[in-house]
């Protein structure tokens, strides 16, 4: 099989899967193995792609064989490949978890097709080399996520969904505007061609364009001060869905920021990077302070997402290879870990039907496995050794200090301290103390074993991220080096494989 088929297959396979699943919507029992199969296939394809490019190669597929700059190109470079692999793993794990969690027949019917469409959208977002196609992939992802978000709650609670939909719709429209401006100024929407042409633009215009993209992708990524919609909408979805959102959706925004800011616009030295650094710092601190104020586990974790997005932006804003590598490594760590924490929330919900710190106590006695899982993920997310979060944080700290940006390193350390404090709030409030009796009548337990298995699976992944930090960091560095070279220069290479 030609490697150039890998990027399109990564998108098309889940889409075909979605079509099949939609046809099977009356047969939930049949849907489950098909859905698992599709996600596994995606994972295998992703791994094949990564194997092809991890040491610096690029697989560039010109869809329909139209010349670059005219047609759409899919670019499997190291960054995209790494993220697609991590995303596929996470998606598969959450899918298994969801099999145990969903109980409403209506949810089940449409869950699988939508989930696969979401997978396809995420893969496309990571792989596309075309700005407008990126917009389309955003829309696919968002549309699927809107519906997933409202699938379970939508018939009862509308408001959070409306916040989510309206904000993101506005964001998408602004992206469309940005694409229009970019096309007006450069006559292309291909990122590789664009990266060659931005240099010809008057500096004020390229600055304005890149800042516009910061606003657009910043909204998707939930950076300060554009984050407020996230904690209002994420926690309302069923946990499995929140888990995917938390792990992956904001990451797409971050990814797009990295892609456009680092690769397309590069270091212009126009103050945009300094601005991003401030954004990063504020995002970290404000996000985690928001978490401290909450007393619901799901909301605390949702605020954490914001804070941790700040870390990734910090890596980007340093605009150095080490910084970008740190950001990539942080994403690799954060996607499974954050997802896993929400899966733990799902385990708690399955037992107690609530995630309020005030209503649940003593899980350490009544559910030690859940407590253990939470402890590991929480420590990892707080950046404590020896877990993956520490390695990721270390990368960023190293990069920041090497750049002489002491204050942002300080801010990141304060943020991780506060993360830890807010995690202890969850720990103290929910896991310690006298166990809360389970509700009467007890909630149905079926599927709990499957859910726990899925969560343990993600645990294995995060531990693997930590153990394999060395090779992963090397890969992230390769990806970062690739990012620092404007895509245009890799165009001529037309590298397939190595």
């Amino acid at each position: 099989m030609s490697v150039e088929l890998l990027p399109p297959l990564l998108v098309v396979v889940p889409l075909i899967g979605a079509a099949v699943l939609l046809a099977l919507r009356g047969h939930v029992r049949l849907q489950q193995p098909v859905s698992i199969l599709v996600s596994t296939a995606q994972l295998v394809l992703a791994v094949l792609l990564l194997a092809e490019v991890y040491d610096g190669g690029v697989v560039r597929t010109l869809v329909g064989a139209w010349p670059a700059g005219i047609g759409i190109s899919l670019v499997g470079d190291p960054l995209a490949a790494i993220l697609v692999v991590v995303a596929s793993i996470t998606l598969l794990a959450v899918l298994v978890f969801a099999l145990g969690q969903l109980d409403d027949a209506e949810e089940k019917r449409y869950f699988h097709p939508l989930y696969q469409i979401l997978s396809a959208g995420i893969a496309l977002a990571f792989l596309t080399g075309d700005l407008f196609n990126l917009f389309v992939s955003f829309e696919i992802t968002l549309a699927a996520s809107y519906v997933l978000l409202l699938l379970a709650t939508g018939r009862r609670i509308i408001r959070p969904g409306i916040t989510y939909v309206v904000i993101n719709l506005l964001g998408s429209t602004l992206l469309l505007l940005a694409i229009a401006f970019i096309y007006a100024a450069t006559g292309t929407v291909d990122m590789a061609v664009l990266s060659e042409r931005v240099g010809d633009l008057p500096p004020y215009l390229s600055t304005a364009l890149r800042l516009l993209l910061v606003v657009v992708f910043g909204t998707k990524a939930a950076v300060f001060p554009l984050f407020n919609w996230l904690p209002d909408s994420y926690p309302t979805a069923p946990t499995a869905i929140t888990a995917v959102f938390a792990g992956l959706l904001t990451k797409i925004g971050v990814y797009a920021l990295i892609r456009t800011q680092a690769q397309v616009f590069g270091m212009a030295g126009d103050g945009a990077d300094g601005l991003l650094l401030w954004v990063a710092g504020l995002t970290m601190i404000v996000g985690v302070l928001g978490a401290l104020a909450q007393d619901d586990m799901k909301r605390i974790l949702s605020f954490h997402i914001i804070s941790q997005v700040g870390f990734m932006i910090m890596g980007l804003a340093l605009f150095s290879i080490a910084g970008l590598a740190g950001a990539v490594l942080y994403m690799v760590h954060h996607i499974p870990t954050k997802t896993a924490l929400f899966l733990v929330v799902g385990l708690v919900t399955k037992r107690h039907g609530t995630t309020s710190l005030k209503k649940v106590d003593g899980l350490i006695s009544s559910a030690p496995v859940v407590a253990g899982l939470f402890a590991v993920f929480a420590l990892s997310l707080s950046g404590l050794p020896p877990f993956s979060g520490f390695v990721a944080k270390l990368g960023l700290v190293q990069a920041g200090l090497a750049d002489g940006q002491g204050w942002i390193v300080g801010a990141s350390l304060v943020a991780s301290l506060l993360t830890m404090v807010s995690m202890t709030k969850v720990w103290n409030g929910m896991f310690l103390g006298a166990p809360t009796p389970e509700p009467e009548p007890p909630l149905p337990r079926d599927g709990l074993a499957l859910m726990t298995t899925a969560t343990v699976g993600v645990l294995a992944v995060t531990l693997a991220v930590s153990v394999a930090a060395g090779p992963l960091n090397d890969m992230a560095t390769v990806a970062a080096e690739h990012l620092m070279v404007p895509t245009g220069q890799t165009l001529d290479g037309e590298v397939a494989g190595r």
Binding site: L150, G154, I158, G161, V165, T173, L176, I179, F181
Partner: protein, 135 residues
């Protein structure tokens, strides 16, 4: 060109003004208007007006790419708008009106501040008394 740019600006401005209200219908209209404005900008981005992009047209043709992009965008915006309207319909069914209310949990957390600062601080252990339930 200037005219269309200004028109797009006006459409988006009017859209924004409506987006910032609480009535859901207004918000949806706002989103729709902003979308129209964006499509217009996309069209303008292709350069000045010219003959339709058909093979064999006489004279210069207008840039077909932005048109294709705008076409895709129009349909996507329409799909999203349809979904938003379904939401609005459901909201109207549930609440009987189309207001977007504030987030309850945010309100509660904000409200907890006043109370929290005076009431919820726990009492500290007094010197010399061992909590006896620790073993």
């Amino acid at each position: 060109m200037i005219i269309e740019a200004v028109l797009a600006g006006v459409l988006i401005a009017v859209g924004v003004a409506q987006l910032l209200q609480r009535t859901l219908t207004r918000i949806v209209i706002g989103v729709a208007l902003i979308g129209q404005g964006a499509n217009l900008v996309l069209l303008v981005a292709g350069g000045p007006p010219a003959a339709p992009p058909l093979v064999g047209a006489e004279g210069p043709i207008s840039d077909p790419l932005p048109q294709a992009l705008a076409l895709t965008a129009i349909v996507i915006t329409f799909a999203m708008l349809g979904f938003l309207l379904a939401l609005a319909w459901r909201a109207a069914k549930l609440t009987g009106e189309d207001r977007v209310e504030d987030d309850i949990e945010d309100r509660r957390v904000a409200h907890a501040r006043e109370k929290g600062s005076t009431e919820s601080r726990p009492q500290l252990p007094r010197v010399g008394t061992t909590p006896k339930d620790d073993r």
